[in-house]
């Protein structure tokens, strides 16, 4: 076994730990997170690559929809009130699909949080991803933790000004690119880029980029962890979704305590010694400025970088990894009960480790099978149900619709031959990006015929109308019924609209109004 003295003890204090919490009006203490290395850091690089990739590249994906619709795969076309997502096109009245996705996002958050804890915060939240990116830039320009602290404390010099200028310039470039990428979701990306660079884009594009540049720079570069701790409501909400079987980043003090910087000496003196060598590596890498060994805290975003930091130290000193690990409260309590001496009520390291230094039987950092439990299954069920309903809705939705509005004033008109006429505003919705010929027919209403305002055609029971691709067409239709056929003051009949080529159809049940006595 290596001597614990070989592990460098870092001079660091967890500035945001509850013990060190400052008065309300104190100035923020800066955090200089050390670069971590290990499996979770590698996973976070991957997540950063994927999420940033999705964000920056999505608007540039092309998707052919034919000559009558834009060919951008993901496009929120506010001007024309259309939302395109690959093969899906949504009209404003179909916004429930978006609402459904939000419900799914809600259940998804419940599911993820109750099973693997604040994984959203730790890996995929834009704030986390961008702060990580900004910290990487900072480390690249100013060096790792110690170099940054030294630079921060150094008096202003040409070198310091130079490094700081470069850092903020790079941050601003990232911020501009972040704000810049956002606008491409709302217009044809290549066209907008050209217009944007030549100063011909709409003012709102420049304003949006300016606002998002400012928020990215301020939140990601300057405020960092304060956004999570003070501004974001998620930590409070997510805390309510955790239970004793949710995975959280946990310091396993049942094997770590009593911590000791001089384990050999203490062991020689016969004192109990835990696995924690009190090297503060976990504190140094924490981007939130807390000490995970204080237990679960509101500030912890479970980025798991302290696990990486601790694991590399444990490997170095030849101890089992996982002193800090993903664990559930149930696992922790189970282990804690085993490790505690019932007599003294204190942790007894001899109860934890065998003579070979391995953990004794019964101890385990976590039990993954607990992820499958009624609560998570219920969330998964609800999440899937909403998803299936959305899918069903998507596959069965109408792409040809008709809406009918009966004239209210007058409800009916008696014509000179005694026949009764009702006026209707009929709206045909051709919801596909192709021109269509729609057949409008009267169904029911004995003897009645209709005329289309603006078309000099004889009265008929059906006529064909050309509807532009992806557009709504409003028709004014007069329906007339001869006096002798009128039966009752309110007769029900149907407008049937059909596309003869695709066999799509829709109907609208309308009412034909007539005076009590018609002549």
């Amino acid at each position: 076994m290596l001597d614990t003295q070989e592990v460098e003890r870092l001079d660091v204090s967890a500035v945001n730990s509850a013990r060190n919490r400052q008065p309300l009006y104190a100035k923020r203490k800066k955090i200089f997170p050390k670069k971590a290395e290990g499996q979770f850091r590698r996973f976070k690089w991957l997540v950063m690559l994927v999420t940033l990739g999705i964000y920056y590249l999505t608007p540039w994906i092309r998707w052919d929809r034919g000559p009558y619709a834009p060919d951008q795969a993901v496009l929120v076309d506010l001007a024309n009130r259309r939302f395109y997502f690959f093969f899906i096109e949504i009209w404003p009245q179909e916004f429930y699909f978006v609402a459904g996705l939000l419900v799914m996002a809600g259940f998804g958050l419940f599911l993820v949080t109750s099973s693997v804890g604040r994984a959203w915060c730790g890996y995929t939240c834009p704030q986390t991803v961008w702060v990580d990116l900004f910290l990487t830039v900072e480390g690249f320009i100013e060096g790792d933790r110690n170099a940054r602290i030294k630079l921060d404390q150094a008096p202003w010099s040409a070198g310091k000004i130079g490094r700081r200028t470069i850092k903020h310039a790079v941050w601003l470039v990232i911020a501009v690119l972040t704000g810049g990428a956002w606008i491409f979701y709302f217009a044809d990306a290549p066209t907008l880029l050209g217009n944007f660079l030549t100063g011909q884009a709409a003012p709102i594009a420049y304003i949006t980029v300016a606002v998002l540049t400012a928020t990215t720079y301020v939140f990601g570069g300057l405020m960092r962890e304060q956004v999570c701790t003070y501004m974001c409501p998620w930590p409070r909400i997510q805390a309510a979704m955790l239970d004793e079987h949710s995975l959280t980043v946990t310091y396993n003090d049942w094997r770590g305590e009593p911590r000791s910087r001089h384990a050999k000496k203490a062991q020689a003196m016969g004192q109990p010694v835990g696995d924690c060598v009190d090297c503060n590596a976990c504190v140094a890498v924490c981007p939130m400025g807390i000490d995970i060994r204080d237990g679960q805290q509101l500030e912890c975003i479970t980025c798991a970088l302290c696990i990486d930091a601790c694991d590399s130290v444990m490997t170095k000193v030849g101890k089992e990894r996982g002193l800090i690990s993903y664990a559930t409260l149930a696992d922790y309590n189970h282990n804690m009960a085993l490790a505690t001496d019932p007599g003294t009520g204190a942790i007894d390291p001899t109860r934890v480790h065998g003579p070979d230094g391995k953990l004794k039987d019964g101890f385990a950092h976590y039990h993954l099978r607990k992820i499958l439990r009624p609560r998570t299954l219920l969330y998964f069920g609800a999440w899937s149900l909403v998803g299936l309903l959305l899918l069903y809705g998507l596959l069965t939705r109408d792409r040809l619709q008709v809406n009918v509005l009966h004239d209210r004033n007058p409800q009916y008109v008696t014509l000179s031959d005694g026949s009764i006429r009702n006026g209707f505003t009929v709206k045909l919705l051709n919801m596909i990006p192709e021109p269509r010929t729609i057949l409008v027919e009267l169904d029911g209403l004995d003897g009645a015929g209709m005329t289309l305002v603006g078309r000099e055609e004889p009265e008929a029971r059906s006529f064909a109308v050309e509807v532009e691709p992806d557009r709504l067409k409003t028709l004014k239709i007069y329906v007339r019924q001869p006096a002798e056929k009128v039966s009752g003051t309110a007769q029900s009949f149907r407008f049937v609209v059909q596309d003869k080529s695709s066999f799509e159809s829709d109907t609208y049940t309308a009412t034909f109004e007539a005076p009590e006595k018609s002549r």
Binding site: P23, L24, Y25, R408, N409, P410, V413, T414, L415, S416, D417, G418, R421, G423, V453, G454, E456, Y478, A483, R519
Partner: protein
């Protein structure tokens, strides 16, 4: 009371007041709050200089921007007028038939006409242009003076029996109270009722037939089909302005009602009349 007192728990000085042993900490305001406060003061100073602010006896200070809500609404109205100026000019320049033939212009004129209709015409013709007894329904296909758009425009422009306009449409249904005996009037009324299928006394109607030919056919025609040249209504159709029964017809023959419609060209101008005509034409009864 006034000496500096430091709270022993928080290390913060107190305001120096004490109420039954309770002291108030003199924490500073948060900096963001204080700065916001200063900014509002600066903003207020700028506002007072730029905008109307200080009330005077009959007015208020103008402010260097010389802004007022009245100027603003005036500008907005002017902008709205300017936005539709091209259409208005086109309506003014073209005839009603040309307006009908141009889809865009027709849409504009119909909307503009609907607006003026709601201000000037609904008092008699109703908000849905359905009229009422004595006031024609403009939705149907029965026209006293003609249903072509040019006829409608002429009626709106110069009115009906409107003495002040020399070009007004004039006709007069005379009273037959002195010319015909009461029994004869009743017989003519029965015949007239029979023309449009109203309930009537068949024997009397037969008797009234020749009386109708002698006294009424000169205006209403041999078959009672009316004559638009003189606004004589068609007595055979299902629509009547004043009458709904044999008794009504009898009364109309004895003491006829002759409706008056004012002339609008002088009040609204030629363009508005064209717009109104387009709107009325669009209501469903317009004739080619």
């Amino acid at each position: 009371m006034s000496e500096k007192h430091i709270d022993e728990f928080s290390g913060v000085s107190t305001t120096g007041h004490e109420w039954d042993g309770i002291r108030e900490l003199d924490n500073p305001m948060p900096r963001w709050w204080v700065w916001t406060y200063y900014i509002t003061i600066v903003w207020a100073l700028g506002y007072v200089i730029a905008y109307p602010a200080w009330p005077l006896i009959s007015d208020a200070t103008k402010g260097v921007l010389n802004w007022s809500s009245r100027t603003e609404i005036r500008n907005e109205l002017a902008a709205a007028e300017a936005a539709k100026a091209d259409y208005v000019a086109a309506v003014a320049a073209k005839s009603v038939d040309e307006i009908l033939a141009d889809d865009n212009l027709r849409t504009f004129a119909t909307a503009a006409g609907a607006a003026s209709f709601k201000v000037n015409c609904v008092q008699c013709h109703g908000s849905g242009a359905t009229g009422s007894k004595g006031f024609p329904n403009l939705n149907d296909d029965d026209w006293l003076w003609g249903g072509k758009i040019t006829d409608i425009a002429q009626t709106i422009a110069h009115g009906i029996r409107f003495a002040a306009d020399p070009d007004t449409r004039v006709s007069d249904m005379p009273s037959f109270a002195d010319t015909l005996e009461p029994a004869q009037i009743a017989a003519v009324a029965s015949f007239a009722a029979s023309l449009s299928g109203l309930p009537h006394d068949a024997a009397k109607a037969e008797a009234g037939k020749s009386l109708f030919a002698d006294n009424c056919a000169s205006c209403h025609g041999e078959a009672g089909k009316g004559n638009r040249e003189m606004g004589a209504p068609d007595l055979t159709d299902a629509i009547a302005l004043y009458v709904a029964s044999e008794a009504d017809i009898e009364r109309q023959i004895r003491t006829p009602m002759n409706g008056v419609m004012p002339a609008w060209q002088g009040r609204l101008g030629e363009t508005a009349v064209k717009e109104l005509a387009t709107y009325v034409y669009s209501l469903g009864g317009g004739e080619q």
